[in-house]
């Protein structure tokens, strides 16, 4: 088996501003986070999911998104950021009750100290109506950190506190092949 559960962070209380994964094992090749999240605060446009790396705010992050709000496709980017960012994937109190945004986030070669780290995410939510942009979104996102340090911790946050029931599950993916001679 290649994909292994590392840890889960589940919101059970009303004062949870971040979902944290510390001391991430360095024994896998890739990381995958699966998020189902909602915030308690209220804003028409869904919030961004932000990810602080290694407990600090090192420089030179960037993100880029390719999105649809149901009416048209759009594209946007932001550079010189201080954290990974997965935009527009966090519905909140403004939106239909009990709607949680879903995202699958892949970070390749997270222990490789010769490479920067690039995140790729597919995520979004449908809220059964609303007037854009205050409704559903779907996005393919990339976000990069040019730093070459291994990733040892990830802290997921957005705006305010997560809603009860939000969760993020972190998996490690190995690359030990079962075949040889490629």
């Amino acid at each position: 088996m290649t994909m292994h559960h590392i840890a889960s962070s589940v919101v059970t209380g009303s004062s949870t501003p971040s979902l944290d994964f510390n001391s991430i094992p360095q024994t896998f090749t890739h990381l995958q986070a699966r998020a189902s999240i909602r915030m308690q605060a209220s804003q028409g446009v869904p919030y961004d999911l932000t990810i602080t790396v290694n407990g600090a705010t090192p420089t030179q992050f960037a993100f880029h998104r390719l999105s649809s709000d149901g009416n048209s496709a759009s594209n946007a980017s932001y550079i010189n950021d201080v954290l990974f960012r997965v935009p527009l994937v966090v519905p909140n109190a403004f939106h239909t009750a009990n709607i949680f945004g879903s995202s699958i986030i892949d970070i390749l070669d997270y222990t490789n100290t010769s490479k920067g780290k690039t995140l790729r995410a597919v995520g979004g939510q449908d809220v059964n109506g609303g007037t854009q942009p205050n409704a559903g979104w779907i996005s393919l996102t990339s976000s990069m950190w040019s730093g070459t340090s291994a990733i040892t911790s990830l802290s997921f946050a957005s705006f305010g506190n997560f809603a009860i029931g939000s969760r993020i599950d972190l998996y490690g993916i190995t690359s030990n092949p079962i075949a040889t001679g490629a």
Binding site: M1, T2, M3, T29, H30, Q60, F61, A62, F63, H64, R65, L66, S67, A73, S74, N75, A76, S77, I79, N80, D106, I107, L108, D109, N112, S114, K115, G116, T118, L119, R120, V122, L140, T141, S142, S143, M144, S146, T148, I173, T174, S175, N176, P177, I178, A179, G181, A182
Partner: protein, 173 residues
């Protein structure tokens, strides 16, 4: 016992100048195939580089695809029927993009052992600290009739950079 996802082949390039990575004799014991590519290319005239993907060594006429892409302020879409110039494309960061940053690409081929046509789903991310990295989602149709037994990745511009990685996974019940 469920098989889940297992790595079949994994290649990390330890030198520069490599232009081709080939996974052959792919076991026919899984249901789906998935590939992760984290690559960089020596190209200097754009922030990304093309990686052609060839299945079973087949010629150009059996590939078609449609995509949605973004390179900056706008999104675009395109279709390529009965390809005459390209196989399926993945994308690598280029030498012109932010230093040390490699692409994050995923390719998924369901039901790869069937004798029917195959759908190929691709997500590409060549992020960089500039306004113009490339994001692409691609749905392709491979009209070859046999099971997928080999996948070859070609650097279409210069060559893959050292530390580029290619990993093939099998997903099975």
């Amino acid at each position: 016992m469920p098989r889940g996802m297992q790595a079949i082949y994994s290649t990390t390039l330890t030198t520069t100048g490599i232009t081709q990575v080939n996974f052959s004799n792919i076991p026919q014991t899984f249901t789906d195939l998935k590939v992760y590519v984290s690559a960089r290319d020596g190209r200097t005239d754009a922030e990304f580089a093309n990686i052609a993907v060839r299945l079973n060594g087949a010629g150009l006429s059996v590939y078609s695809n449609m995509n949605i892409a973004g390179t900056g302020g706008t999104a675009s879409t395109d279709t390529f029927n009965s390809q005459v110039a390209y196989y399926y494309n993945l994308y690598a960061n280029s030498a012109s993009s932010t230093a040390n940053v490699f692409s994050n690409d995923e390719m998924y081929i369901p039901n790869y052992t069937s004798y029917g046509f195959k759908q190929v789903l691709i997500d590409n991310a060549t992020e960089g600290n500039s306004g113009n990295p490339l994001l692409v989602m691609n749905a392709g149709l491979y009209r070859g009739s046999g099971p997928i037994t080999s996948i070859t990745f070609f650097a279409q511009n210069i060559a893959f950079a050292q530390n580029s990685t290619f990993t093939l996974y099998g997903i099975g019940r």
